[in-house]
């Protein structure tokens, strides 16, 4: 079966709780860099919940926008990498080969969503925190770019299980950590090439829009617009 992974983010449901970020950090061995480094703009999180304010106090209202890697169809980061460290894989994902990366950081400059993070230092986990690291991930040394992969290790596992059992991958079988965790269920992940999948249905929602669509990057992450009105 043809696979085109996509994610839908329902802004009506997002409460800005940040559970997705925590799940992502835990799943993907993302280093916690500490307050001082965060102040310098060196947060390593692959997913950020951007917060904007609408209106003036006391009418001000927070708007939350979870921003993972958009997995663009026409990814600007891919063309500028001089060594093909970032490329398009067979599922249409924007993949990253850490061990090929030389760290020119051009991809991060060329990403209009600024979702790529750089390893400014080598990161270590103190004992016993190193016990929590997932063995399914490639380690990243200093000087290497990294970013959201849609939890490619989970996708691989689901695909391998399906292959072992000699069947197609089922809808909802591959779920990134953020999607699995989201308490209000604002995130949805699936194969948009499958006409019967939930994501395909969701992508028909008239509220749909894509971030900075005018740039022509064709993101695979689709947002569902917040609706204004009573109870919201």
């Amino acid at each position: 079966m043809n696979i085109k992974w996509a994610m839908a983010i329902d802004l009506d449901r997002c409460t800005g709780c940040g559970a997705c970020v925590v799940a992502c950090v835990a799943e993907n061995n993302i280093p916690v860099v500490g307050e001082a480094e965060v102040e310098k703009g060196r947060l390593m999180q692959w997913l950020r919940v951007a917060r904007y304010w609408e209106g003036e106090y006391p009418e001000a209202q927070a708007v939350y926008l979870p921003v993972p890697c958009m997995q663009c169809e026409r990814a600007p980061c891919e063309t500028v990498c001089p060594v093909y460290a970032t490329y398009h894989n067979e599922d249409g994902l924007n993949a990253m080969v850490y061990n090929r990366c030389v760290g020119t950081r051009y991809c991060a400059n060329n990403c209009p969503y600024s979702v790529r993070v750089f390893n400014w230092f080598d990161h270590k986990w103190e004992k016993p925190l190193d016990e929590q690291l997932s063995p399914d991930l490639t380690t990243r040394s200093r000087g290497v770019m990294e970013k959201c992969t849609f939890c490619i290790q989970r996708i691989r596992r689901a695909k391998e299980t399906a292959e072992e059992e000699g069947r197609e991958i089922r809808d909802g079988e591959a779920v990134p950590a953020c999607v699995q965790t989201c308490p209000p269920g604002a995130l949805l992940f699936g194969n948009m090439a499958d006409p019967h999948s939930e994501i395909t249905r969701k992508l028909k929602d008239p509220r749909r829009f894509r971030l900075m669509e005018h740039l022509g990057t064709e993101p695979r992450v689709v947002y569902l617009k917040r609706q204004k009105g009573a109870g919201r």
Binding site: V80, P82, R100, V102, N109, R116, W120
Partner: protein
């Protein structure tokens, strides 16, 4: 011009002794200078090793400002390198004979500025020890560099330019190395003999030399233009507001030549003072360089005006935020840039008195070099600091490690230049001799034959 001393003035031996004073006895001062420069270079290298071992986090870089002063310096040094090509190639083709005394110095500057500039991308990358991934070498995994990336275009263009300008520098030096061989003793004689490739100055050799140097001059111009266009495209190809602009390539070439000429003025004023070359490096050369600077300043101002006007009128919010930061966080840098490159320097350069005063012109040139450095930072940093998503906006200030490496790079350039001046003829003896021949009246028997070129000609008189 007094005709009686024409033979003495154009005697190669005498000229060699006068023009290559730098090659002759090595003074204590020279050793002291080299030692001092080497120390600064070593400090820079030490800081680089520290950065490599610890991680790029020791710089002031962050997200979204992933490129900082290293990239600005890269653009700056590559820009400085455009001087030599302009002076030896473009002025050669336009027959400007006044360029003879500044020829070699400018060409050497091209080569060394390129070497220093070319180091910066390697210093800047996160895993410097894996830089060879960018070289198309055969490997078992059959991985090749990505030629769609402007960085690869850069690597190709800069290597071509470096090889081209080194060849240009060496080729132009062959007749002078022959003169040096004829007048040197000891190990220097052997050294120059090997380098002069047996040049004897026969008619045939000169004819070939002239044909080849014209071909070189024509070939190097497109290379020079392409190099800085591609450096401009490193930015213009990106989806970054403030970078993504069609004006960048021609504008970068202009800026490069602008800073390059300013660099040549500083280098020439220094050489003139240090090696007492007042007789050959006259006010004529400086005034002409001053006129070129004046033109380039005007052109630079025009490019900026055009770029600002379109963004200001259009008010595309993404670009407008970048421009607004010029008036806020980056105002000091912006004022240095605009002031040094145009507002202050242009009126000064319009004054004949300034152009004809070597100290004044040197000060203006220094100002332009500083202004152009500020301009490169202005290109690299604010555009990144005000990316599309306001949530991640962040400013950048370089750390002591970056400053140390920049100082090391400057010292490396000066060191390379000092060593070059010690071992090679820093003045183009043959070209100067040719010019002296043309501008000196000659006595043949009892008759004085007037010179065919005027002492202050700017390329219109004589055969060039």
């Amino acid at each position: 011009m007094n005709g009686s001393d024409h033979l003495a003035r154009t005697d190669p031996g005498a000229l060699y002794r006068e023009l290559s004073r730098s090659n002759l006895p090595t003074t204590k001062k020279w050793y002291l200078g080299v030692a001092l420069l080497s120390l600064v270079v070593l400090w820079g290298v030490g800081c680089f090793i520290y950065m490599m071992k610890t991680g790029m986090g020791v710089t002031g870089l962050n997200r979204p400002v992933m490129w900082g002063v290293f990239i600005a310096s890269f653009v700056f040094w590559i820009g400085l390198s455009h001087s030599g090509t302009l002076i030896s190639a473009i002025l050669r083709l336009t027959n400007a004979t006044w360029r003879a005394p500044i020829l070699r110095g400018a060409e050497a500057m091209t080569a060394f500025a390129l070497m220093v500039g070319g180091l910066f991308p390697l210093l800047h990358i996160g895993r410097n020890w894996r830089f060879y991934y960018m070289i198309p070498y055969p490997n078992s995994r059959q991985l090749w560099p990505n030629l769609r990336s402007p960085l690869m275009w850069d690597a190709v263009a800069i290597n071509t330019y470096l090889l081209g300008s080194l060849t240009f520098l060496y080729f132009g030096m062959i007749p002078d190395l022959a003169i040096a061989r004829d007048h040197a003793t000891g190990w220097r004689k052997k050294f120059y003999s090997a380098l002069a490739l047996g040049f004897r100055g026969t008619h045939n050799e000169w004819r070939r030399y002239h044909v080849a140097s014209t071909i070189f001059a024509i070939l190097i111009i497109p290379v020079a233009v392409s190099v800085h266009s591609i450096v401009g495209w490193d930015f213009a190809m990106a989806k970054v507001p403030g970078w993504h602009s069609t004006i960048f390539a021609p504008y970068f070439v202009t800026g490069a030549i602008f800073s390059g000429i300013a660099g040549v003025v500083i280098v020439m004023a220094t050489l003139r003072k240090v090696f007492r070359l007042e007789r050959v490096l006259t006010v004529v050369q400086f005034e002409n360089l001053g006129k070129l600077l004046c033109t380039m300043s005007l052109l630079w101002g025009y490019f900026y005006f055009a770029d600002f006007l379109t963004v200001w009128y259009n008010r595309n919010p993404e670009e407008w935020e970048v421009f607004r930061s010029y008036a806020a966080d980056y105002l000091p840098l912006f004022l240095v840039m605009i002031g040094c490159n145009f507002v202050v320097s242009f009126p000064l350069l319009c004054m004949r008195r300034v152009r004809r005063s070597i100290p004044a012109l040197s000060v203006v040139s220094l100002m332009i070099v500083i202004g152009m450095y500020a301009e490169r930072i202005m290109i690299v940093v604010p555009s990144l600091a005000r990316r599309n998503d306001p949530f991640i906006w962040h400013n950048y200030f370089p750390s002591w490690v970056e400053f140390s490496i920049l100082a090391g790079a400057l010292a490396l350039f000066l060191l390379l230049y000092t060593i070059f001046a010690k071992f090679f003829p820093i003045m183009a003896i043959n070209d100067i001799q040719e010019r002296l021949f043309q501008t000196t009246d000659r006595k043949i028997g009892g008759v004085t034959v007037e010179s065919i070129g005027m002492p202050h000609d700017t390329g219109k008189g004589g055969h060039g």
